[in-house]
């Protein structure tokens, strides 16, 4: 058995919210082990003062001292998990600053999370898996070129995607909305194979990612089953040809959004959000439906409008849609409404998630929503930067999987 990945927990509150065992369980499921960096009282006093953030909660002082012990190498760890109570301002400040501090001063991958009593191991699983992957599979993630003939499959909550790659080129793709998970996967695989002109037997290695990765991975006997945080980061910098140095990857998905701060293709800090559907691709789908256009037409439509002319009083998918309906009834143009919807999603992701990662250029947008140019434009405006949308961006997870899977081809 391999050694568990040692994940240092810096936290305030999980034991008292009744969710500590959910954290422990999520870590255990992906071969990790939660531990608390050991510090003495004199370390806490010295390091808390040295850090200079004068918080009042003793457990946050302890978290600060533990973070410094990790960065200075007095306590060894493979990864760091920072968790504090949702809605605690004091803890949110500490969480952010520790995340930034660890990221800047060490190579430890960090994930931060604000929990409620409803947090389950399921919600934490992908994040923990990404942490253990980064810690354990640095060699695999270092891969920069695809070789041989490989298949990548991304079984997402909204859509299923497949690509076939040969010698660093994409030669076949398949895409469709996710209905029955296995059926959708088989169909997109068949499409990608036929477009590539190869048979399943010729494929040398297969990788899966996305929500359905475990189910499909087992079904099609995948060599690599990997969460979408590391896979999408890898796919993004590969397709954007930015494999070296820093980058920020934004993926606004059907069910949740990812914001990943990447260095040399490996995630350093990342967040996954999914509390509100108003900040997801789903909201844009609903907007398109209400405007009577295909989702593919929403982007061009929104580029002709100006969102500022439409009052949007809520980020909620229900009330947000209501605002758009009201605006249409009050005479707003469809173009303005489309632009307002794009702005609303971009703004919510910006306010709620991008604050948790350090935005470093280039900013790469991926996933199906990156094809909605109004959304990309709105995000660029908010971040004051030109956003990179690489070719095949909607296939990001599948491409990342196919790329990484080539590490599993056995040399004859």
């Amino acid at each position: 058995m391999t050694q568990p990945v040692r994940i240092a927990q810096l936290s305030c509150g999980p034991e008292y919210s009744g969710i500590q065992h959910e954290i422990d369980e999520a870590a255990r499921e992906v071969g990790g082990e939660i531990f608390y960096p050991d510090v003495a009282l004199k370390d806490i006093r010295r390091d808390f003062t040295k850090f200079g953030l004068d918080v009042k909660s003793p457990d946050l002082k302890l978290a600060i001292a533990r973070a410094i012990a990790l960065v200075e190498g007095r306590v060894e760890a493979d990864a760091v998990f920072i968790a504090t109570c949702f809605r605690c301002a004091e803890a949110a400040i500490v969480r952010n600053e520790l995340r930034r501090y660890i990221n800047e001063h060490s190579r430890l991958p960090v994930v931060s999370y604000s929990f409620t009593e409803r947090t389950t191991s399921g919600t934490l699983l992908t994040r923990m898996e990404a942490l253990t992957t980064i810690a354990r599979r640095r060699a695999l993630l270092a891969r920069e070129t695809q070789k041989g003939l490989t298949l990548g499959l991304d079984s997402g909550s909204a859509t299923t995607k497949a690509v076939v790659m040969r010698d660093n080129r994409i030669i076949g793709t398949g895409w469709q909305p996710t209905t029955e998970v296995i059926k959708s996967a088989n169909e997109v695989i068949a499409h990608a194979l036929s477009e590539a002109g190869v048979t399943r037997d010729e494929i040398q290695a297969v990788g899966t990612t996305g929500y359905g990765r475990f189910l499909i991975g087992k079904e099609i006997n995948a060599d690599l089953i990997q969460e979408e945080l590391t896979v999408n980061s890898k796919g993004a910098v590969y397709l954007a040809n930015r494999q070296h140095g820093p980058a920020t990857v934004i993926d606004i998905g059907g069910m949740d959004n990812k914001a990943i701060s990447v260095m040399d293709g490996i995630p350093g800090v990342f967040t996954m959000g999914g509390i509100c559907a108003g900040a997801s691709g789903r909201f844009l789908e609903m907007t398109a439906k209400r405007l009577g256009v295909e989702i593919t037409e929403l982007g061009p439509l929104s580029m002709k409008g100006f969102g500022g002319r439409v009052p949007m009083n809520s980020y909620c998918i229900v009330f947000g849609t209501q605002s758009l309906v009201n605006a249409l009834a009050a005479g707003s143009t469809r173009e303005d409404v489309a632009a307002a919807a794009c702005h609303s999603v971009a703004e919510q992701v910006y306010e709620q998630q991008l604050q948790e990662v350090d935005i470093k250029e280039p900013v790469i947008m991926v996933g199906g929503t990156s094809l909605i140019e109004g959304l990309v434009f709105a995000m660029g405006e908010l971040l004051q930067t030109k956003i990179v949308v690489p070719p095949y961006s909607q296939y990001i997870g599948a491409v990342g999987s196919a790329l990484l899977a080539s590490g599993f081809i056995k040399d004859d």
């Binding site: 531990f35 608390y36 960096p37 050991d38 510090v39 003495a40 009282l41 806490i44 302890l62 306590v75």
Partner: protein, 152 residues
Amino acid sequence: MTAYTPTHVGSVTKYVMVESFDITPADLALRGYEISKGVMIKETCFGLVISGKEEEVDRIVTELRKIDPDHIFVKDRGFPPGDARRCRANLGGARPGYNGLEFEMSIIPYVSHGLEALKNIDEKTVPPMENPLERPLLDIYKLKKLIDAQES
């Protein structure tokens, strides 16, 4: 979620800490074992952990206190001794409460001194401690003094 069946129901666990030049936790343990009558006693770096039926634990604690009443301190513990959920070996580091205890152990010598002193004086004759809630922000005469000091 799985069902939880507690162990040690009805038992109590207490820490007996010692902060003294004259006796060590080992001395305390030795005396504890003599009178334990089957009650679980475990040595730690600060003192002992005693666990069993409440009357039994209280009896031993009362006896142990007699050895050096001003330097032996007792507190309840929620977990039975060696519980894996709180054990340093399993957690990779001390539970947070340990650092709090570490802090109070640095204050204990002053408390011991107080206990010793009060054997010879009536506590009613000791002037009260400043109430931290009633302390004025800055005394007006003190402020005047500060201003004068600045000007000179």
